[in-house]
């Protein structure tokens, strides 16, 4: 199932120049390299411009939560060379307690919303992002739902409800209905 990954010309040299190393081949055959967060911008810049195959499109940016390990958040960058359709996957860990990693918006405009989503869902701090704010959840939301320690049911939905409608006193629509005979004591 796992076959030998084919490396397009120039890829190995550029990854090595940024101090990255290749990870074991995955079933999809996309070459995967891991770099330090500090060398991320250099590597993505080199992959975008060449020499060799140019990966000009950033397809996706997202995080994987390795809770409870540290460093916790593993960022994945999918790049694609439009001339051949080849892809490369770059991975880097976010650094520090506040999960910092340099933003790549300067290199690829498309990273803007993808990084906002990763911030919204996991709380990764992309330094240098022009406008890092929530995108899918409401602006006043306090949690990061895609973290592994966040339950599927959600946390404190009524708190959010109260914040949005301060006049309402009766709590939330998520509250469980009171059963008869329980309130007597």
């Amino acid at each position: 199932m796992t076959e030998e990954t084919q490396f397009p010309e120039g890829l190995k040299e550029r990854v090595a120049a940024a101090g990255g190393e290749f990870l074991p081949a995955q079933p999809d055959g996309i070459p995967t390299a891991r770099v330090e967060a500090g060398a991320l911008l250099d590597l993505l810049g080199a992959l975008k411009t060449g020499p060799g195959l140019r990966y000009e499109m950033l397809t996706d940016v997202f995080g994987i939560d390795e809770y409870p390990q540290t460093p916790r958040f593993d960022l994945v960058y999918h790049l694609r060379a439009l001339s051949t359709g080849e892809m490369v996957r770059i991975r880097a860990f976010a650094q520090g307690d506040d999960h910092k990693i340099p933003s790549v918006v300067g290199l690829f405009g498309t990273a803007d919303w993808h990084e906002r989503e990763a911030y919204d869902m996991m709380g990764i701090d992309f330094t240098g992002h022009p406008d890092l704010k929530r995108i899918l959840m409401p602006l006043e939301y306090e949690h990061h739902p895609l973290r592994k320690d966040f339950p599927l049911e959600g946390i404190e939905p009524e708190k959010l409800f109260k914040k949005r409608f301060p006049g309402e006193s009766s709590g939330s629509m998520h509250q469980k209905p009171q059963r008869k005979g329980q309130g007597g004591s």
Binding site: P27, M57, H78, T110
Partner: protein, 418 residues
């Protein structure tokens, strides 16, 4: 005397503006005062619950900021909780205009992880289904974007044809929408000969409707003025913003996953991929119209070249629920069903599979750690990325162009918000 009266009685009030400066002013430019207009989330032209915060100078758009997330259902989070078979239904509801194309993309990712490949007949079957959904999705786009710009007739032509496609789906799968018909390593059933004939008849009839729509729009003066040189996005910007699908090809980038990263049996089928030049709304319109014609070509070839044989491999039977009546009668099938429901585990590995759905590149990244559900399920949705181009397209245009821009981007909020 109030301020207003003072202004009226001022000596030069009401004097004709000097002819030279009047000519310099752009139409719609009424001074520098800025207004903020909230368009949506309940607006008929935003095609779903999209809100756009517009900063206007008179009628001119200075800045447009899309606000998304009103339809967020936590699909990626659910992918980490539900098992792989259950999750197929969640992919249906991403882009609900092309449910089965999403199913196919997800199934391909899981199959890659399992190391199984579907049979040749199944591959042709999937291509037919994917192209039928492409036509259905483009028809919705054509009808709604035309009705937004005032061309009501088109809507009825396109929705009649779309109904035909949904009838075909009904005959194949038993459901019109959200079909959930794709299984790992196969399909939920086969194409009956009478349905195959019906699809052939559709490929004969459909181009005529397309001709009618083209007669009404392609050289229509109003359509030209509403779409030509509107929502222009250059080749470089399109790549930088990560646009995919017809939006990218409309700007002249020759990139289509069906050609460049062939999956299923697309490399055995002869078809062309249309490209635009200017990158405006009109080019994207032409690209999508031609794509529908090419889809008809693909369907025609696929249905004629479809080989006989099973839709499942024996290998794939391990991952597919047995028919319900057999479960009641046979002990083995009961055990089989129990195993699938309670203990379907995927091998460890990370997989990214991208397919060309009507809106662009839909990719599924599955990080499997050997459990019953994914450790991380990432959906790379084309609409989310394509919507990022909206501020760039809207800048400096008139407010009335907004419907044209939204229409030409062709996004679905179910996929943007996930």
């Amino acid at each position: 005397m109030t301020e207003m009266d003072k202004a009226i009685n001022a000596p030069d009030a009401g004097a004709a503006p000097d002819a030279e400066s009047a000519r310099d002013t752009e139409p719609g430019d009424f001074g520098v005062e800025q207004t903020t207009l909230y368009m949506g989330p309940q607006h008929p032209a935003t095609h779903g619950v999209l809100q756009i915060i517009l900063t206007l100078e008179g009628e001119k758009i200075v800045r447009a900021e899309p606000v998304v997330g009103f339809l967020h259902r936590g699909k990626e989070k659910h992918g980490e909780e539900l098992n792989y078979t259950q999750y197929i239904t969640f992919t249906d509801r991403l882009d609900y205009c092309s449910s089965m194309a999403n199913n196919i993309g997800y199934a391909l990712a899981v199959e890659n992880l399992l190391g199984i490949e579907c049979t040749e007949r199944c591959q042709y079957f999937r291509v037919i289904i994917a192209e039928l959904t492409r036509i259905a999705s483009h028809l919705i786009w054509l009808g709604t974007s035309a009705i937004d710009l005032g061309a009501i007739t088109i809507y009825f032509y396109t929705f009649k044809e779309r109904e035909d496609i949904y009838d075909i789906f009904d005959q194949i799968t038993g459901l019109r929408m959200n079909n959930m018909f794709v299984r790992f390593g196969g399909m939920g059933g086969d194409i009956r000969p009478d349905v195959a004939d019906r699809i052939r008849k559709f490929t004969d009839d459909f181009p005529k409707t397309l001709d009618t729509c083209e007669t009404l729009l392609t050289r229509n003066r109003i359509w030209w003025q509403r779409t030509r040189d509107v929502a222009v996005i250059s080749k470089e910007d399109a790549i930088d913003l990560g646009l995919t699908g017809p939006n990218l090809r409309g700007s002249g980038v020759e990139y289509d996953l069906r050609k460049d990263n062939p999956y299923l049996c697309y490399d055995e089928i002869d078809f062309d991929v249309p490209y635009g030049e200017e990158g405006d709304a009109y080019d994207r319109y032409l690209v999508r119209m031609e794509e529908m014609r090419q889809s008809v070509r693909i369907i025609r070839q696929a249905i004629d070249a479809m080989p006989e044989g099973p839709v499942f491999t024996d290998e794939a039977r391990k991952y597919i629920l047995p028919p319900k009546n057999r479960v009641y009668e046979s002990m083995e099938e009961l055990i089989h069903q129990f195993k699938i429901v309670t203990d379907l585990r995927l091998p460890v590995g990370q997989v990214y599979k991208a397919t060309e759905v009507p809106k662009g590149e839909l990719g599924f990244f599955i990080d499997s750690r050997g459990g019953q559900s994914a450790y991380r399920m990432r959906i790379r949705s084309p609409s989310f990325t394509n919507l990022q181009a909206l501020p760039k397209m809207a800048e400096g245009r008139l407010l009335a162009d907004m419907t044209s821009i939204i229409g030409s981007l062709d996004f679905v909020m179910g996929e943007v918000d996930r």
